[in-house]
Amino acid sequence: MKTFLFAAALCLPFGSVIAEEKPTLTVYTYDSFISDWGPGPQIKAAFEADCGCALNFVGAGDGAALLARLRLEGQHTKADIVLGLDNSLMEQARQLELFAPLTQAPEGLELPVSWQDDTFVPYDWGYLAFVYDNTKLSELPSSFETLAASDLTILIQDPRSSTPGLGLALWVNAAYGDKAANIWAGLSDNIVTVTKGWSEAYGMFLAGEADLVLSYTTSPAYHLIAEDDASKSAALFQEGHYLQIEVAAKLAGSKNPALADAFMAFITSDDFQNVIPETNWMYPATGVETPALFGQMIAPQPVSGPLTISDADRKAVVEEWVRALSQ
């Protein structure tokens, strides 16, 4: 860490001599990261305390929108860092060939799966799960099959417009392979509706429109910690849960490469990681301690199967989802 800051400091003179202005590091991320309740403000303050620079977060919708933005801008992007892609988007992102290889492997990673990548650094992770109100629901689904066989109602997101929605389609596909279409056919009478994004579905769930909503295993932690409300729980599925790992990468065309490297190293530092649980409501990517109430969350196994997915396979999974639910 220190060496990186030193390296960053070395290239500061170029900027400061000319204009007495601090260099600016531009980080593209998703919207909720930089909201007043997200990790953005604290992380900005922590990084700026040492870097002698200005950290500039630019919000661009969600993870998929972030990737679309990079594709639009291509080589001309103003971003030095992109933070907020996940494992379902990683292979597509890699094919853009816009990213620089890491100058140093991230330190102290502790993820539920082994991780090896020369470009992307994980900054947090979480499992998708169906969240329910434990004061209302007694009969719990323990798998997609029991859920499909039950009368329980669910709200999900559309894989064509939402990242968790895509995660769910990949989850069912990973767990059931050729039989995924049957599972979706079985679930079709449980699905109240499919929404454009996570916010709509979660808002409708809180309004009482369905028994369960597709969200994260950590969603109940938000209600526990921020609202002192213990009524939400996540259902544990035997198939294992879809693991979402959120990653950052450095742009090859960055005008501040040393500063960007310093930020990439900062991602796995305690100052960054400690902010994550109670602002992004995900698990930190390193071994830093999580808030005690996170201990009450379910601890599923990751669903078996590859962590990333190719563009063609993703399209096939989404098309199968549309077909199965349009019957």
Binding site: R160, V192, E200, L325
Partner: protein
Amino acid sequence: MGARAQPVSRTTQFFGAAALLIVAALVLAPVLALLSKATFGSGWAVSAWPSIRFTLFQAGLSALISVAVAVPLARALMRRRFVGREIMISLLGAPFLLPSIVAVLGLLAIWGRSGIVSDALDALGLGPLDIYGLNGVVLAHVFFNLPLAARMLLQGWQAVPAEQFQLAAQLGLTPRARSRLIEMPVLRGAAPSALLVIFMLCMSSFAVALALGGGPKSSTIELAIYQALRFEFDLAAAAQLAIVQLAIGLAAATFAFRFAKTTRFGGSLGGPARHWDSGPASRITDALTLGAAAIFILLPLFAILAKGISGLAPGLPPGMLAAWGISVAIALASTALALTLALSIAHLVDSSRYGSRIEAFVLLLLATSPFVIGTGLFILITPFVSPFALALPITALVNAALALPLMLRIIRPALGRVRANYGALADGLGLAGWSRFKLLTWPQIRPELGFAAGLAAALSMGDLGVITLFAPPDTQTLPLLMYRQMGSYRMDAAAGTALILVASSFALFYLFDKGGRRAGT
């Protein structure tokens, strides 16, 4: 029929052409920009056919039902005078300016599986109501657009001089004869354009159609565009779909203009119309219609109000005031711009031989996809300037453009009426140019201008719009703040923001609308 005594003046031509150029740029340039960057080879997206079918079906049905229900509502509003009538007419603007997600949650509080209707049915042992599917989509679209349709029809009725109703009563016309001689011509003029506008508005619906549609069977073209731009990054497919949407819009506009027939009712001494056709039966029908419409429109608004108040209880969230200021500033700038554009084009349309073709072209703005406009402008602008630098002007411009077709539909008939009634006189007096606008046109079309400006301001206020692509890091509008709150689990705070947003939009709408009507009818 008013004769076109004067040739189209230079000023009219200049302003009209400049405004049309802007419209053309916004309709065509984004699609061309997408095509310029597209890599072809993916072929025609076959999976788009069901979406096209569903889009046409739901939009057509929503438009038909909205206008069919709006006819008795507008009739009742026209011929009854009651306490709260003015407020009710203004409140009719409210649903239209709700951000989609706010409207969905408001509607679900009434019609949802745990809404009050379901609770009542549950108490009777009838189980919860299930509106998800085509029902829900149409319900939401009627909620949004019935009030708009009613206002547009009401305007048609208000163009009928008071003397004609008096004459009808003196001649002792039967209700049937009255309907044939007054009501049918009014509807023939106003209904096709209301149908058209609502069809186009529903066509580009996406989040609402999906959330209440119950599944991928209810996918619209707009969703396919979003998917193509966001997930597939298939610019060619997005451009193709955008062109399909424009083609449908053009076909619908051509069709509607062929049907629409404006009847000139002749001049009036002015003054409020009185209605003598008040048998007890019609009085009861009108009361029931007004009551049902008020309940249908107000209940979801009350739900939004109640949620919003409890969401605001902990105090104003950070960033709210700044976001409010930016939203209001954009809305006012956008309204000024939209009024200028609308008046320029309306004058040209009114005096040109190709009037209805020009208008059909402007209506295509309703068939454009906000995602396509946003992405297209982004592609066009970024090589030259930082998108951040232009975020606010571009947002104001795009918001103005999206309100323009509606404004034109409202303003143009009024201009036509002024020309038919006073054109020859004004020509004879040599009243032209600015003084003609100031002394004749402005006082006559003030109510319509006020209504149109109110819609423009409120639409701009509530629209998330292209700011998402262009917003600099520290700039957020109220809708953006609301979505960010929802994305961070702050659903209650978001409900509070939604209330501030809706109240501010409505206040702007009311100020303009009321300001326009003050001197008018």
